[in-house]
């Protein structure tokens, strides 16, 4: 069963633009909030990864925008595990207005586990994280 982890935030004025709405690139920062929340919920968190000598490098990011967010809106960002490969995995996201429930955007990121050193060499997903990603509903990607 797919676990959906929710994170919450409130739109800052600094995130808005001259059109009176949240500048679209900021949704990717919100995805990061949700990604960190998801990893924390799965046990290891970013700090845990770093102490295991690895970190995440984003290799692909997508977002489709359905409706704008505005200053001071309460926002829910959902994250879930999509595919799990040998060194990489993909996450899905949805951004919702927490008050109205309206879906504002949906997107994805693909990230590779790399060594937390100068080389940044792609490396296998640590076994504990891999098990947690699969337990959260990730689909094993054999490609």
């Amino acid at each position: 069963m797919r676990r959906i982890i929710e994170s919450y935030l409130r739109v800052r004025y600094a995130e808005t633009d001259a059109q009176g709405v949240v500048y679209y690139a900021n949704f990717f920062v919100w995805f990061e909030v949700a990604r960190v929340g998801l990893l924390r919920a799965l046990g290891s968190g970013f700090r845990g990864l770093e102490s295991a000598g690895v970190c995440l490098a984003i290799v692909e990011a997508t977002c489709r925008y359905l409706a704008p967010a505005h200053f001071d809106d309460e926002i829910t960002v959902q994250a879930w595990v999509d595919k799990v490969g040998r060194t990489s995995f993909t996450l899905g996201y949805a951004v919702l207005n927490r008050t109205t429930g309206q879906r504002l955007a949906e997107g994805s990121t693909a990230q590779v586990i790399v060594t937390f050193d100068e080389e940044r060499r792609p490396t296998e997903i640590p076994p504990g994280l891999r098990a947690a990603l699969l337990a959260a509903g990730g689909i094993e990607n054999k490609a």
Partner: protein, 153 residues
Amino acid sequence: MESRPLSRDDVRIVRSAQGPIVETDLWVRFAETDAMGVVYHTHYIVWFEVGRGAYWRALGLGQVHALRDAGAFPVAAVEARYHAPARYGDRVIVRTRVAEVRSRSVTFAYECLDQAGARLVTGQTTHLFLDASGHAVRLPEAVRRALIGEAQP
């Protein structure tokens, strides 16, 4: 479209089989880096906007101001693929071209290159056009013609 200079000092126009490509340069700011020592991934999406702004400017500043007054081009979708990281102090070249023009949307394609021409990030953005009252409408004819190259930058 009262002024359409062939190039501006911060913008280079390259002719290609895929239509004109507009190039502009930027230098990575320390504020754009993160704890991994590289540019934080969302900043490339802002750089896409830098490239798109250069593209609009290549069409002529009058065009930009007319657009700003006519309505808005909200982003409907973004995609980015990350090939290699940029670092503080690097000079980055952002190349922008029009990938697709439809009656109600336009898609721009981008490449961020390092000084040697190696690809750092590629991606695209798709935009709708909203009129002054905020409704999605067909692209204004002058804008559409400019984007499909009938009035090339």
